[in-house]
Structure formats: structure tokens, C-alpha cells
């Protein structure tokens, strides 16, 4: 069995998991829950198989948990989807209007991601938000690189349609 120093793992890879979760969820509470769930999942994965690369595994798990949480948030109509923390909007050189526009685009993209099939959403996030290569994405998700490309293309098409529709309405 693989012996893992979880404290060292959390200290070393915690920031990247935090960034991934916070960027997708946009608020502190959900990001904290997602952070804990990610490491618990990583523990379960490490019991089943030997973990070669913790960063890739943790990023994949954090992305999957964050997307699940986004979908859950969209299913519950009472919870507002726009619950970004006000403390997280510093701007030194960006106009407030541009910042609001960027926030609206980010919120729209989160909504659109929550409506995609989970695998497409994962591939999209890993590629564009975490800059992972097709080969690495395919390896982490257990699929072929060509399949990852197809999923990414589908995700892009659906997201674009969703965003354009949202922009028109």
C-alpha cells in the first residue's frame, strides 16, 4: 500500500486545488467544501491504485467536484447563482464596467458549464482553465486523446450557443 504524507500533500498542492475550486465556484463556502471533498476523494483513489501524479489527480478531482456542485446549485432554484464574494473584486487598472461585464461573462460560463454533460465540462475546464494538454487530459480521464478532442469540440459548440442565447435574451 502506498504510504502518503497527507499533510505534506495538502500543504504542497492545496493552493492549486483551492484556485481550481474557487475559480469555478466563485465563492468561499463552496470552494472550501469542494477543497475538502477533493482530498477525501484523493484518499479513496490512493487506496485503490498507485498515484503517480498528485497535481493532475487533484486538479481532475477538484474540477469534477466543482462541476457537480455547480450542477447542484443550478438545480436548486432558491440559491442564487451569483454569490461572488465582494472582497474578491480588487481592481487597480480595470474599469468597473469592464469588470462587471467580465463577471457576467464568468457567471454565464459557469451556468453553461453546469448544463453540459459532466465529462465534456471536465475536459473543457481541464483544457482551458488548467492548461492541460490533450494527452494528459486523456490519461487522467481514461479516454483516448481523439475522444478528448471531440468532447472539447462539442463542449465549445454548446457553450457558445448557450452564451449567445443568453446574450440575446
Amino acid at each position: 500500500m502506498q504510504v502518503i504524507d497527507w499533510q505534506a500533500v495538502v500543504n504542497k498542492h492545496g493552493p492549486i486545488v483551492w484556485n481550481t475550486a474557487y475559480r469555478l465556484l466563485g465563492n468561499h463556502t463552496d470552494a472550501a467544501d469542494c477543497f475538502q471533498e477533493t482530498f477525501i476523494c484523493a484518499l479513496e483513489v490512493s487506496r485503490r491504485q498507485h498515484v503517480r501524479s498528485f497535481p493532475a489527480l487533484l486538479i481532475r478531482l477538484a474540477t469534477a467536484r466543482a462541476i457537480d456542485r455547480l450542477r447542484q446549485r443550478m438545480r436548486e432554484p432558491n440559491i442564487s447563482t451569483n454569490i461572488a464574494d465582494c472582497a474578491t473584486v480588487p481592481s487597480n487598472d480595470v474599469e468597473p464596467f469592464q469588470q462587471i461585464q467580465a463577471q457576467e461573462l464568468a457567471i454565464g460560463l459557469r451556468e453553461a458549464l453546469s448544463q453540459l454533460p459532466p465529462q465534456e465540462a471536465q475536459v473543457f475546464c481541464l483544457r482551458y482553465l488548467n492548461n492541460m494538454s490533450y494527452r494528459l487530459i486523456a490519461k487522467e480521464l481514461g479516454i483516448k486523446a481523439n475522444t478528448a478532442g471531440v468532447l472539447l469540440h462539442r463542449a465549445r459548440t454548446k457553450l457558445k450557443e448557450h452564451l449567445e442565447k443568453a446574450a440575446v435574451t
Binding site: 495538502v10 473584486v89 467580465a102 465549445r156
Partner: protein, 241 residues
């Protein structure tokens, strides 16, 4: 020439550049580690022991070299101590170099203090500027959001009131049209009744006149009246001549 970005690229850029607060918080890290240890069902002490042993294991090969290095250093230190010249007169040496050292130390202290004060001032200024910009930006964002919300509410109220007024106008107009139609029908029926009455009366009058005319035609006059009538006719002829 750079191709214009579509909405998806803009959204990706916005989401990727989302400002993430530095983290994770220390409490969250500690809580996560505690949960992991609990989930792994390993006590904390055992966990630490395993970790220490685990760290020691790959270093086994290095321990020999470390021991050899320590021995070499100890030997070198001993040889150096034994072969070192006698120590000079400390008091003489101190009196010789103390003023120069003091002067140098004072100069360096002064320079350090000046540099520290200057950098502190610049840093404080920068922090204040950044804080001010951040506050101003937050205030502008909140004001914009609040004003847009209020404007939307007012517009919605205006639309509602216009709709209500239009509905009332339509209802009033429809009731007026109904009233006019009702009056028209009533007038028409009254007019028809009046015309019928008039026609009946006229017919009666015509009947009566016809009867009078018939009676007048069949009426026979006396002879005296006939002589007078012929006289009158003669007089009339003479007058005409």
C-alpha cells in the same frame, strides 16, 4: 491583424482571470488534514512515525557519507586548532580597530535607516493608493449595480401602470360602444313603431277622405240653387267679355 474574440473566448478569459483570494485558509487546511487522518483511520502519532521513517528510508545511503564528512571536518578542525598561531593581544587589537569599526557601523546604520525609511514611505504610499483605488472601485461597482436594479424596478412599474391604463381604456371604450349600439337599436325600434303608426293613421285619413269625396260626388243639389248657379255663370261670362 488580430482576429476579434468571440463571446466564448471572452468568457473563458474572464473565468480564467477570476480573482482568487490567496488560500486555502489555514483552518481549512488543518480541518482537511484532520479529516484525512480520520478517514485513513490512522492515529496522529503513528502517522508521524510512519512519515519520519518513510523520510529516513531513502537517506540510508547518505548516512555513511555524512558520517565520513563529519569525521573529516572534526579532523580538520583539530589540526587547524593545533597548528594555529598564538592569539594576538586582544586589547591592543580592539583598541586599534574599535574606532574604525564604530565609525563604519554608524555610517552603515545611518544608511540603512535612510533606505528603510524611504522604502517604507514608498511602500506605505503604494498601499494607500491601492487601498483607495480598491475602495473606489468597489463603491462604483455597488453603486452601478444598485442603480441598475432600481432603474429596472422603476421601468417595470411604469410598464405595469401603462398596461393597466391601456386595459382600463379598452374596457371603457368597449362599454361605450355597447351603450351606443344599444341606444341605436332602441332608437331604431322606436322610429319603426312611429312610422308604422303614421302609416296607419295616414291610411285611415286617406280612407276617410276617399269616402268624403265619394259622398261629395254622389251628393244631389236642389234646383234653386241650380238657377242661381247659372246666373252666376252668366255674370262671370259677361265680366270676362
Amino acid at each position: 491583424m488580430e482576429e476579434p474574440k468571440d463571446i466564448l473566448d471572452k468568457a473563458i478569459e474572464a473565468l480564467a482571470n477570476t480573482d482568487v483570494p490567496p488560500g486555502p485558509p489555514q483552518e481549512l487546511t488543518e480541518a482537511t488534514v484532520a479529516k484525512l487522518i480520520e478517514a485513513a483511520d490512522i492515529p496522529q502519532d503513528e502517522f508521524k512515525t510512519i512519515r519520519f521513517i518513510d523520510r529516513i528510508k531513502p537517506m540510508k545511503g547518505l548516512i555513511k557519507y555524512a558520517a565520513a564528512a563529519v569525521l573529516l571536518i572534526a579532523c580538520g578542525y583539530t589540526v587547524g586548532r593545533l597548528s594555529a598561531p598564538k592569539t594576538p593581544d586582544i586589547e591592543q587589537l580592539r583598541s586599534a580597530i574599535e574606532p574604525a569599526i564604530r565609525e563604519n557601523v554608524l555610517q552603515e546604520m545611518g544608511q540603512y535607516m535612510q533606505v528603510g525609511l524611504a522604502s517604507g514611505y514608498a511602500q506605505l504610499k503604494d498601499e494607500l493608493q491601492q487601498q483607495y483605488r480598491r475602495d473606489l472601485s468597489n463603491f462604483a461597482i455597488q453603486t452601478l449595480a444598485a442603480s441598475s436594479t432600481v432603474t429596472n424596478q422603476r421601468l417595470q412599474e411604469l410598464i405595469d401602470s401603462i398596461n393597466t391604463a391601456q386595459t382600463q381604456d379598452r374596457q371603457w371604450f368597449a362599454s361605450s360602444l355597447n351603450q351606443i349600439e344599444h341606444n341605436r337599436r332602441q332608437d331604431k325600434s322606436q322610429l319603426a313603431a312611429g312610422l308604422e303608426t303614421l302609416a296607419l293613421q295616414t291610411e285611415d285619413e286617406l280612407q276617410r277622405t276617399r269616402q268624403d269625396m265619394a259622398q261629395l260626388l254622389i251628393y244631389t243639389q236642389p234646383d234653386s240653387i241650380g238657377v242661381d248657379k247659372s246666373n252666376n255663370l252668366n255674370n262671370l261670362n259677361e265680366r270676362n267679355k
